[in-house]
Structure formats: structure tokens, C-alpha cells
């Protein structure tokens, strides 16, 4: 399988405090990776660096995406190159309707691929299709982006956008938290339906529960800015059972 994302010894600081302390991660086409780890360990920081948010200063290492140095691309170029971030805290944009927002985004993606903008009719057709797929309330697309959405609606909306944009690499940052059981199944279903041989998914989660629905090929434990353990699906089960104390002890050599 071809390499998609290759992170090597990545180090990053926020205001002189080192948050990522040498991360190495290899994601190939067709794979699903799960990243788990305690609060504040750096999961969202890692995700936002891949997406291009200038939140942390990169102090060392590299990220290569489809053979290219990712740092050469600005956030919108990364998006158009197929990187999608499902935000842990989706932002509200009052005044901008979902329809308008998605149409703009989608047409930017199409322009990048050398395609004509979608006609209004085709766009609405696609919108309906994807809406059904992630079972989101029809009315949500006529409202402003995330404005006044409930916590769960915001998360579903992230998956809906993912379905519209069909990314190569999706990073879902705690998309499962705040979802009720039905919504969790819908989201997981959506992710599974979007899965293809040539795309990849990184799932950041605290709960093994989601991994019952989306079976990961690898599970990594991010602890204090480092990936301290990697394994298969069973690692998630073990974590659930033993908690992070177990990891902490291992890291500290007890």
C-alpha cells in the first residue's frame, strides 16, 4: 500500500512549552488509525498541525503527505489536497448558511481538480444524498454554519461535511463525544460507508465504544506529547480495562 501521511519526529511548542515531543506516525492508504490518550496529551494539537492551523510552532521533524512536504501548503490547499479535519469544537459562523458554505467549499475543491462548478440542481441532489446518508435534519442545512446547533448536531454536521467533500485523509477529533447511541452508530456508519481502498482515517477518541463500530487497523497511545504505545484493536480494550495509569507506569518504567 502507498504511504499517505508520514510524520517523522515531529516537535512543536506553544508559547515555549513543548507540546509534541517527537511524534512518528505512518498512515497508508486504506488504513484506519485510532489515537487515544489522556486530556492535554497533544492529540488536538497534532491534528491541527496536520490541518495547518498555526497554533503551535513546529520546532523539528517533518510531515509528508502524498510525497509532498505538508508545510509548503496553506490550510486551504491541504483541504483541497484531500485533508479533512473533523473539529473537536466546530466553530459557529453566524450569517453564512450551510448551503452557501458547502457550495463554496465544494466548488473550490472542484476548481482545484479542474472541474466546473456544480449546477444548482446537481448540488442540491448531492446535498440530499449525503444528508440521507448521515441522517441529519433537513432543516440544518438552511441554517447558519453550526450556529445554535446542539453539541451532537455539530458533530454530525462534521461528518456530513466530510461526506460532501470525500477527503483522502480524514482526521476525526473526538467526533464521538457528545453523541447519543443512535447518533454514534450513524456517524460510524457514515465513516464506514465513506471508506475506500485509497483513503485513510485517523480517529481521535477517548472511548473504545466507537471502535466497536469502526474497526481500526492500529491503535496508538499519545501520552505527554509522545506516542508511547502502538498496537491493534486489542490495545483499545486493554486501555479501557486498565486506564492510563497502566501506561503512565510503563512510561515511568515502574
Amino acid at each position: 500500500m502507498n504511504s499517505m501521511l508520514s510524520i517523522k519526529d515531529l516537535r512543536a511548542s506553544i508559547e515555549d512549552k513543548e507540546i509534541l515531543k517527537g511524534i512518528t506516525l505512518e498512515v497508508k492508504e486504506g488504513e484506519v488509525h485510532a489515537i487515544m490518550g489522556p486530556n492535554g496529551s497533544g492529540k488536538s494539537t497534532l491534528a491541527s498541525l496536520v490541518a495547518g492551523k498555526e497554533l503551535a510552532d513546529v520546532t523539528g521533524g517533518s510531515i509528508t503527505y502524498l510525497g509532498k512536504n505538508l508545510f509548503d501548503l496553506n490550510p486551504e490547499e491541504r483541504s483541497k489536497a484531500g485533508i479533512f479535519l473533523g473539529f473537536q469544537y466546530p466553530t459557529e459562523i453566524p450569517g453564512v448558511t450551510m448551503v452557501n458554505f458547502l457550495k463554496t467549499a465544494l466548488n473550490e475543491h472542484r476548481k482545484h481538480k479542474g472541474l466546473e462548478p456544480l449546477s444548482a440542481k446537481d448540488f442540491l441532489k448531492l446535498l440530499r444524498e449525503k444528508k440521507d446518508m448521515v441522517e441529519i435534519d433537513s432543516k440544518l442545512t438552511n441554517r447558519s454554519v453550526n450556529a445554535g446547533f446542539s453539541g451532537g448536531e455539530k458533530k454530525k454536521n462534521e461528518i456530513f461535511q466530510m461526506a460532501m467533500l470525500e477527503p483522502k485523509l480524514a482526521i476525526l477529533d473526538e467526533t464521538d463525544s457528545g453523541l447519543d447511541i443512535d447518533a454514534l452508530k450513524i456517524v460510524a456508519n457514515g465513516v464506514n460507508k465513506l471508506k475506500r481502498k485509497d483513503n485513510a482515517t485517523i480517529i481521535i477518541t477517548h472511548y473504545q465504544r466507537l471502535l466497536d463500530y469502526i474497526i481500526p487497523d492500529y491503535v496508538h497511545v499519545l501520552f505527554d506529547g509522545r506516542i508511547v504505545k502502538s498496537g491493534g484493536k486489542e490495545l483499545a480494550l486493554k486501555l479501557e480495562e486498565k486506564g492510563y495509569e497502566w501506561i503512565r507506569n510503563q512510561v515511568n518504567g515502574n
Binding site: 486551504e76 483541497k80 466553530t91 459562523i93 453566524p94 450569517g95 453564512v96 448558511t97 452557501n100 458554505f101
Partner: protein, 482 residues
Amino acid sequence: MKKEQNKILSEVTGSDYKYGFYTDIDIEIFPPGLNEDVVRAISAKNEEPEFMLEFRLKAYRHWLKMEIPDWAHLKIPEINYQDISYYAAPKNKKGTESPDGVDPELRKTFEKLGISLDEQKRLSGVAVDAVMDSVSVKTTFQETLAEHGIIFCSMSEAIKEHPDLIKKYLGSVVPYTDNYFTALNAAVFSDGSFCYIPKGVKAPMELSTYFRINAANTGQFERTLIVAEEGSYVSYLEGCTAPMRDENQLHAAVVEIIVEKDAYVKYSTVQNWYPGDKNGKGGIFNFVTKRGICRGERSKISWTQVETGSAITWKYPSCILKGNNSVGEFNSVAVTNNYQQADTGTKMIHIGKNTKSTIISKGISAGFSNNSYRGLVKVVKKAQNSRNFSQCDSLLLGDQCGAHTFPYIEVDNANSIVEHEATTSKIGEDQIFYCNQRGISTEDAIGLIVNGYAKEVLNKLPMEFAVEAQKLLQISLEGSVG
């Protein structure tokens, strides 16, 4: 994050002002300076009847006794009125060769501005009075409109051809004594547009004026007068642009609207005077008095403005609601970027019974600019059962700019209702990044957010203006995210 913000702020470009070019043509220009002789000379240039000269001289003498108003939230540099030339006109206004009497060079200039003076070529069916510096260059569709009894011509022509109407209405809504700039304007205005819609006539097309400043070291002082007789209707558009220069230029205009019983005048402006560069050098000083009177029952005036240009904007399109059940509207989007300053709003004066007014003001400030809404809602005692609703919103981009709201409310009876709502919001980095992450560039993201915010007002603009205005909003804010 601070670092990021500063970086983006420092990228504030001297946004692409598309209309900053200068047309090199022969002009006739008065030497700088202002005195009674200059006032007489302007009147003589326009071959005006005696009453106009009297009007001008009275205004001039009154102006000498006045002082520039200082109550606005603006820093106005001293203006030396003796350094300004008060008359500049293209010499070859009437091209001898061309069939419709417009110098091809001028025609080209207006074409570059998107204004076609060729009636055949105009699909959109908007009649236009094209004003360059001190004079009207061409008024289109005059004959077509005349078939409906509509008079549409330049102000200088109206003064000569329709002196009775001018005597009756000029200065009747905005007297020269109103303020410093109305007095100055009354003394030295050289042209503008006049529009008369007779009883029961609905204008078959939109009418418009396009103001262009071209010459350097001049001021532009124009007057617009619109009279809508009983049961008539007209939608009037106004646009304006100027070359990019390091020096400031003064524009002091007066617009008067008279609306009789059951008549409706809709007046839309896209103000895009040169705003100055990113360091605040140059730009137009825009001091404008616009006022309409709803004289008859159920008459209506609707002001819609999109203000993106000028270094300084001082402008309060107002409605005097005299007729019972008359209606006034003010819809405004005002954008300031870099070092621009705007103090704009409206006055709604309720005099008739059951009168109604609505104010929607959307301020957008970026860079180091200052943007103020100033509005008066006055309901006199006999204006029983009147209503006003005001919504004043401010949107900030960055943390170096200012947004201010100055609402004044005076209600003299107990059964009228006046409501005022105000909000302030900010375009955050998180919102921009969210858009970026979906493939939308920062510039487009600002465009989306700003147009979403201003939608309510933009929707009131005539179609072709709305599209233009949307693009303009985005361009005006280029590179201004904080």
C-alpha cells in the same frame, strides 16, 4: 496567536481600488480660491437665471459666518477652502465627431467604469446622468422617459429649462442654512441630476447618476433633486468613484427628495470614492446631506446605502415623515478599513400620524479604522401611533479598529413605539480557519461572512447593484483579518 494576528494585520494590502485611474483630457479649470467672484463665475458658466445667482450669493454669505461641525466621531484635518478649485469641466464635452455629442475619450472613461453612455448597448435599461468633475457629460434615455412625462436631466439644464420647478423645490427640504456643507454646496454646486415624475407615473426603468471625480485639486459639489408627484414611483441609483491620489479631495453633495401622496421613491447608493492608501494617505472627504420629505399620505422613501469608499464619510440620509401613514426606511452597510473614518446614520422625523420607520445599519470595521452609527428618531406630539424599529450591528475584524453607536431617541407622545437593538460581533481566527479547512481561502471566507452579515441590506438593492456591492465588500476588506 498574537503573532499570527499581527502578521495578518500587517498584510493589510492597499486593497485593489479598481477605479483609481486618471483620464488625461483637456479641461477648463478655475484657479483655486473661493470668493463672491467665483460664485458669480460658476453661475455665469451655467448661464443661470438671476434667481439662482441670488440663491448662491445668499448661501455663500451665510457660509462665511459658519463653522465646520465638530460633533461627529471623526478626526477631520483642516481643509483650506482657498486651495481648492471650484470648477473643472472637460473642454471637449461635446465631441464634434461623435453622433450623440459625447467626446469619445469621456465615453471610454465611463465605459471603463462600467457605465455605458450608449443607449443601444444598454441591455439593463438604466437611464444614467454621467457627471464628471463639475459638469454633466451626458444623460441617457431622456426622450424615452419624456414620453412618460418624466423629466430627467442634469441640474444645470433643469435650472435653465424648468426654472419654476427649481424655484419651487430647490432648497425646500435641505435649506442652505442647514449646515456648513449645505451652505457651501448651495454657493458653489455646478451640476447634478434633476428628476421629476408626474402624477400617477411609474418610471419604466431605473434612473441613476454616476459621479466621477477626475481633475486634481478640485472639489466636487453636486446637487440632486427628485420630485415624485402623487401616486408615482421611481427607483434611483447613485454611484461614484475617483482616481487614487496622495492629496485629499473634498466632495460635498446635497440630495433632496420630495414625495407626494401615495408615491414611493427608492434611493440606492454604492459609495466607492477613493478611500486612501493603507497608511491613510489620500482619499476623498465625503460630506453629504441627503434628506427626503414624505409630504403626502402613505408616501414612502427608502434609502439604501453601501458605503465602502472615502477617507472620511459624514452622511445621514434622512426622512421627514409629514404625511399621515407615511413610511421611511434606512438600510445601510458601511465598511471602513485601514485608516478610513465613517460617521453615518439617519434621522427619522415622525410628524404625521401612524408614521412608520425602519433603520437597519450594519457597520464593518477593519484595520485601524473607525466606524460610527449616529441616528436620531424623533416622534413629535401629533405623530400619534407612530412606530420605529432600529437594528444597529457592528462587525469587527481585528482589534485595532473601532465601532461606535450613537442612537438619539426623542418621543413626545405616549402611544408611539420606538425599539432599538444593537449587537457587536467579531470575525474570529477560528471562523476563518474553519473555512480554510474546508478549502475556502481567507479572502473568500471574509467575503462569505461579511456578505452573510450584510445580506439583509444587500437584498434591498436592485439586482445589478447587489452583485457589484457584494464584490466590493470583499475587495474593500482584502487582507484585513485579525
